[in-house]
Each structure stands twice: as C-alpha cells, then as structure tokens.
C-alpha cells in the first residue's frame, strides 16, 4: 500500500492522543508542557501532510511555521510561568495550584 495521507494522519492522531494523555495525567508542569508540544507537533504533521497530499502546498508549510513560532513563544512564556510558580509554591505540581477552585 502506497504511503498516503491517511498514514500520516494516523501518526498524528496517535501522537495527539499521547500528548493529551500527558497533559492530563502528569503533575509536573514541565511535563504538561511536553505533552503540549506533542499535541502541537501532531497538528504540524497534519498541516504538512495536507500540504503534500491535500493541495495546501506552501500555505500548509507557512501554517506549520507559525505553529512552531507560537510553540516557541508559548514555551518561553510557559517556562517563565513555571519558574514563577516555583518561586511562589516551591514546587511546580499543578494539581496543587488550585487558586481557581470554586
């Protein structure tokens, strides 16, 4: 079977689910961040796959680039926040950071 669009989508779907699992289950803030990176990358794979097979062409690439840029920015800010949380709570376990509790 020729490697086609669906294959790549499958990989991205699995990666996405893994990322999601990581986000939900892990306590450590940086782990959550890593899960997030996985999700973003899953999205990126989709973009490129559609660029190759779905006629999106360069536009898909550019979308992916912007996602990367966003991921970079997000990582920077998120880490800064993590550091801040650390300074405030002396730990970064986000399940204990529940100031929003109703």
């Amino acid at each position: 079977m020729e490697i086609g669009l669906t294959h790549y989508l499958f990989i991205s779907a699995i990666l996405f689910s893994l990322g999601l699992y990581g986000i939900i289950t892990r306590k450590h803030a940086i782990m959550v961040l890593m899960g997030l990176e996985l999700v973003l990358n899953a999205a990126n794979i989709n973009f490129i796959a559609f660029a190759r097979f779905g006629g999106m062409n360069i536009e898909g690439h550019i979308a992916a680039i912007f996602v990367i840029i966003l991921a970079a920015a997000e990582a920077a800010v998120a880490l800064a926040i993590v550091l801040n949380i650390y300074q405030n709570f002396r730990h970064v376990n986000i399940d204990e950071v529940d100031n929003l509790k109703g």
């Binding site: 999601l20 986000i23 939900i24 289950t25 959550v32 986000i94 399940d95 950071v97 529940d98 100031n99 929003l100 509790k101 109703g102």
Partner: protein
C-alpha cells in the same frame, strides 16, 4: 438755523447729566466743591435755555415746532422713531426748569451744608433736571414716557434722600408707586395710540386722529386713550385721587420740595396735557375738568387746618395743580399753562422761603441743643417777621401772588382760569356750573390759609424760644428768594396789570387746533377759522433715507380764536371782581381770626369739630387707601402666596406623597411576592451551584478533561 436750535437743545438736555456723572463718580473727591460745580453747570444750562427760548419765541415765532426725528431701532417694517422738539411752551418750560433748578442749586449749597451725602444731593438734582428737560423737549410719547419714569426715579431718590428716617423712605416709596399707577394708565394710552396710528410721534398721532381713524373704530376708545394719557398726568401732578403722595413727599429736603414738588415735576402733568391737548375728546376733557376741580377743592380744605409749614404749602400746591388741570379741562389752554408758569415762580419762592425758615429754626434749635421740637410746626414759630426780614418780605409777596391779588402774576393767571370756567359753564350749562363755583371757593380758601400761614408764622410774638433765636440766612439763600419774588410781579408777562391777554405770553402760547373730529369735540373748541390742520401736520413729517433727518415742523401759529376764548373775554371782568371779592374775604377772615383774634380759632374749631377733624386728617384718604387698596393688594398677595405654598405646591407634594405611598405598596408587593419568587429561584440556584461547584477543582487538568469530553460529545453529535 433750526438745526442750531436743535443742537443747542440737545446740549442743553445733556449738560445736567454731566453734573450728575461728575458728582456721582467724583463727588467724594470734590467734597464741598461739588455744590459749586453743580451750580455752575446749571448756570451754563440756564444760559443755553434762555438762548434757545429766545430764538424760538422771537426769531422762529412763525414755526409751530422745531424738531428732529431719528429712528431709534426697528423691528423689520415697524420703526420706532423718536426725537426732540422745541415749541413755544417747551421754550418757556426750558427757562422755568433751568432757572428754578439753578436757584435751587444755589440755595442748596448753603442749605445742605454739612450733610454727609452733599455731593450725592447735587448729583440727584442734576439727574432730575436732565429728566425734566427730557420731558420738556420730547416730541413723542415714548421719549415722554421714558423721561416721565426717569423723573419719577430721581424724585424717588430725592424724597428718600435722608433714608435713615423710615418716614422718608416710606414717602419715597409711596410717591414712586402712586406715580406708577398713573404711569400704567399713561402706558395703556400709549399702547392704544401706537396700535392704531403706528407711531409715537405727537404729530403722526394727531394727523391720524384728524383723519378720522379711531382706535378699535370707536371714539370711546379715543376718549379712553386720552384718559389713559391723562392718568399719567394725574400721577405726576398729584391729582385726586392720586394726590396722597405729594404731602408725604415733603419728607425730602426742602430745596427738593421747591424744585420738584412745587415748580417743575408736578407741573409735568399739566405740561403733558398741554402737549397732547389736541387729542382729547369732549368726554376726556370733561373728565379732566372734573378731576381738576375736585383736586382744586379737596386739598384746599385740607390746607385750612394743617400746622406743618411745608404740608400747608404742599396742599396748596396740589390745589393749584388742580386749578391748572381744571383750566385745561374746560378748554382754557393758555391760562392753564400760564398759571403753571406763574405758579412755578411763586411756589418755588414759597418753598424756598419755607426752607429758609426751617433752616433758621434748625440752626436755632441746634444752638439751643433742642432736638425734640418740630422745626416745621408753625405753632413753634411766630414773630419771624423781625428776625428774618428778607424772608418775610419775599414770602409776603409770593403769598399775595398765590392768593391772586392784583399787580402779581398769580392774579393774572388765576383770574384767567376762573373766567374760563365761567365761560365754559355758560356754554355748556347744567351741572357744569359746579366747576366755577368750586373754583371760586377754592380760590377763597387759598387766600385764607396762605394768610393764616403768614400770620401765624411771621406775625405776632414768638411762640417759642426757638423762634426768638432765629436769624436771617446767608445771601445764597436770600438771593434766590428775591429773584423768584421779582418774577412774581405782573410786568414780566403783560404790560397791563389786570389783563394778560395782550402780553407776550398769550401771544406766544396759543391754543393748538384740536385734532379730534368735530363730532366728538365741543363745538366751541373748534376754531372758527377752520384751518386744514391735519394736512399741515402731515406735510412736514417726512423721513429721510437714513431716517435721521433733523427737520423743522412748521405749523403756522396763526391765532385760532374759538368761541370759548371770546366768551372768556366776556367773563373776564366778572371773574376779576368775583375773585377779588372772594380772596379779600379770605384774607379778611385770616386777619380777623389769627392777627386780631376777633373770632376765636378755638371756638370755631370746637363748633365745627367734625369738619375740622375731617380736614386735619386729610379727609382720611390715607386711611381709606390703606384699608381698601393697600390692604386689598396685600391681602391678595398673601392669599396667593398661601395658595402657592399650600395649594399649588401642595398638589405637587401630595402627588409626590401619593407616588411614594404607591411606591411603598408596590415595594411591599415586590418584597413579598416578586422577591419571594426571585429568592426561591436564587436559593435553588445557590443550592445547585453549591453542589455543582464541586466540579470546579481549580486544577487545570480537570478542565482539560471536561473540554475533551465536550469535544467528544460534539464530535459524536456531528458524525
């Protein structure tokens, strides 16, 4: 040439204003100098007045009026045109006003010496002179009305000059308000005329009337307009029933009484009647005559018993003004105006003489440290003849003039008036005979009370220590007296001491042709030589392009002899004899009672107690007005004020109260029913919320889970 006269007149008008402005703004710096400044300015004004009068009376005798017109402002097509003009009576009045004003200024420099508001006094005198000259020079109703009011206000300021005294400020208020009542009538008259004839100018109004146009197409309205205008005169000239302010106005400084309340302002009413004489219908004239007659009679009776020096003079003034108005009313235009002029001199003389007496009394009291006696009460005087010889002499002469004794000016004018009333009564008949009868009676009383005053105050022995210590005053006070006395002799007006009709005065002041159509006028007032007056009035009143053309109206002053004048001539001798007899009787009684005490005054008083009291209490007019008009107005205002506070505002507050009550009810309903429902909902929601909020863990991850669940549901929903 006429332009020059107009220019001079305007300057003449404005010069006293200058005096006012200088004294009001720089008076404090000038101090005592302000009197000299004021007097000098008035001296200049007097010179100008003489020039203007001379030019008008001699050089321009052929012109009826020298006047100009200017458009003051306009409202689209409606133009308000005003102006000033000098006719013969104005020319004469100019001299009267400025001369008396000058003399009063001179007199006041001494009389008002040491007063705290000395400069203000001269300022107000200047303002008054300005306003009075404005009245004299007006050639239209609007300007007349404006200066009319200004005169009122300057009189207000001067009467209330010593405002620390409550009686003075009360008197000034009373004078102003009483005058305003008259002014309202004046203004209504003006409104009727303006509405009908579209102009304020005398000549336009007269032309309109003679063209037969009537206000509201009714001659009654013309009569009413005339009566309205005359009401203005009633206010200013203190005609019954508006006469009550004048005696009270004596609260003002005596020079003011001389200037305003004897010679000039109170004569303005008569002057006004003379100015608009042409517009009065027969009915209006009858009304005027009746008012004049009553005014001549009632105050004369009051003057019989008064003991205040100035009050006697005041009532005599009112009475004399009644004579003038009566004369106007019966058609005796020339004699009425003549009496105005002669009366101005001798009444000013009387007042200044009384001022001289009061001043001397004051000084004497001051000298004796007496602060309680009344310096104006004639019962405190007596024997002043010896201490104040010049004052006595001049006073005696002017008293003779007022009483109408031959060789004086008063004789000439009063005689003319009485002859006129006789002629009028003869021509009209019936109840009109009351007019001459009351006129003669008043003349007799005048002679009596004037001599009573002279005898009690000047003759006999001094009744108090104060009178003994009086002294003759300075020259500034005596000189005006002398001048006014000299002017009260006959030769200024006529070479013939018993007949004025050949003199220059009667030649200059001739009765104007009436503008009222013959149907509404006495036939004997219609000129035999029926000149086309209307067309003459019209021909001269053309506007220039700019509306600012000074031009001379040139009504011929041809002698229109009417039947009344001829008749008056016939009655001249009879009137002379009668008036002499009556005046002589009055004087004789005065001497008999007060000088020689042949008849006891106390006896008379006791016998006619009721009458005496009635006269002494001034016929209870003040009390009557207080009980009716004033109480009525105050009552209405109190009632309306109550109405406003409790009813109108009460309704407002009540509606507010009801609204509040309703609000309370609605509030209760709200609280129990609606709020109950709301609370129930809220409680339920709160309970549910307290359960559901458990979901909010505050953990980001649990939120993610819920987001995912939601996403899934949506996903499956769509698939």
């Amino acid at each position: 040439m006429t332009q020059d006269v107009m220019l001079l007149s305007i300057i003449l008008l404005l010069v006293p204003m200058l005096s006012f402005l200088i004294n009001i703004f720089f008076g404090d710096k000038l101090g005592r100098l302000s009197g000299i400044v004021g007097t000098t300015i008035l001296g200049i004004d007097l010179g100008l007045a003489i020039v203007v009068a001379f030019t008008k009376l001699v050089s321009h005798a052929d012109l009826f009026i020298i006047q100009n017109k200017i458009e003051w402002f306009n409202i689209g097509s409606i133009k308000i045109v005003v102006g000033f003009g000098v006719d013969n009576i104005a020319a004469i009045m100019l001299v009267v006003v400025t001369l008396i004003s000058f003399l009063v200024h001179l007199f006041s420099t001494v009389y008002m010496e040491g007063d705290r508001r000395f400069p203000k006094f001269f300022a107000y005198l200047g303002l008054f002179t300005f306003s009075m000259l404005g009245i004299v020079l007006a050639n239209n109703f609007l300007i007349m009305y404006i200066f009319w009011e200004l005169v009122g206000i300057s009189s207000y300021l001067l009467i209330g000059f010593w405002y620390e005294k409550k009686s003075a400020s009360d008197a000034s208020k009373k004078a102003f308000i009483t005058n305003r009542i008259g002014d309202l009538g004046f203004f209504i008259g003006i409104m009727i005329l303006f509405m009908t004839y579209g102009s304020f100018m005398f000549e336009d109004v007269f032309a309109g009337i003679s063209s037969g146009l009537m206000p509201f197409n009714s001659s009654t309205m013309l009569t009413l307009a005339g009566i309205g205008i005359f009401m203005g005169a009633m206010g200013k000239s203190a005609q019954w029933p508006l006469h009550v302010w004048l005696p009270d106005a004596m609260e003002g400084p005596t020079p003011v009484s001389a200037l305003i309340h004897a010679a000039t302002m109170v004569a303005a009413g008569v002057y006004l009647v003379a100015k608009v004489f042409a517009m009065f219908t027969a009915d209006a004239l009858t009304f005027i005559a009746i008012i004049g007659t009553i005014t001549a009679f009632i105050p004369a009776t009051i003057a019989l018993t008064q003991t205040d020096f100035k009050k006697v003079l005041a009532y005599s003034t009112v009475s004399q003004l009644g004579f003038m108005i009566m004369s106007m009313g019966v058609g005796g235009y020339t004699n009425g105006f003549f009496h105005l002029v002669t009366h101005a001199w001798f009444k000013a003389g009387l007042f200044l003489a009384s001022g001289s007496v009061i001043h001397a009394m004051h000084h004497a009291m001051h000298h004796m440290k007496d602060h309680h006696s009344d310096p104006q009460d004639i019962n405190n005087m007596g024997g002043l003849k010896h201490t104040m010889p010049w004052t006595y002499r001049t006073f005696l002469v002017v008293t003779l003039a007022l009483s109408g004794i031959p060789l004086t000016s008063g004789f000439l004018s009063k005689d003319g008036i009485l002859a006129g009333t006789l002629a009028y009564a003869n021509l009209t008949g019936g109840w009109h005979w009351i007019i001459p009868i009351m006129g003669f009676a008043s003349a007799g009383m005048t002679a009596f009370y004037m001599f009573r005053l002279t005898i009690v105050a000047f003759h006999g022995e001094p009744k108090t220590e104060i009178a003994k210590h009086t002294h003759e005053n300075k020259a500034q006070i005596v000189l005006p007296l002398v001048i006014l006395t000299v002017l009260s002799f006959w030769f200024f007006y006529s070479p013939n001491p018993i007949d004025a009709s050949k003199g220059w005065f009667h030649a200059s002041v001739t009765q104007p042709q009436t503008a009222v159509p013959a149907a509404y006028q006495w036939d004997f007032l219609i000129s035999e030589k029926a000149a086309p007056a209307a067309s003459q009035h019209l021909s001269e009143s053309s506007h220039g392009e700019t509306g600012q053309i000074a031009e001379a109206g040139s009504h011929s002053t041809g002698h229109y002899l009417n039947k009344l004048q001829e008749e008056t001539h016939h009655f001249h001798l009879l009137a002379m004899i009668l008036s002499l007899l009556i005046a002589g009787t009055g004087i004789a009684f005065a001497f008999a009672i007060y000088q020689f005490k042949v008849i006891s005054a106390d006896n008379l008083e006791a016998r006619f107690k009721a009458l005496h009291n009635f006269s002494l209490q001034k016929w209870f007019f003040d009390e009557l007005y207080k009980a009716t008009v004033i109480a009525g107005i105050l009552g209405i205002s109190k009632a309306l004020s109550w109405f406003d506070t409790y009813v109108v505002d009460g309704i407002v507050n009540a509606s507010a109260y009801l609204t509040r009550g309703y609000g309370k009810f609605v509030g209760l309903f709200d609280n129990i029913v609606i709020d109950g429902a709301v609370n129930l909902t809220a409680n339920t929601t709160g309970y549910l919320g307290s359960k559901i909020r458990k979901i909010q863990t505050g953990q980001v991850q649990s939120y993610v889970v819920f987001v995912l669940l939601g996403l899934l549901i949506i996903l499956y929903f769509f698939i």
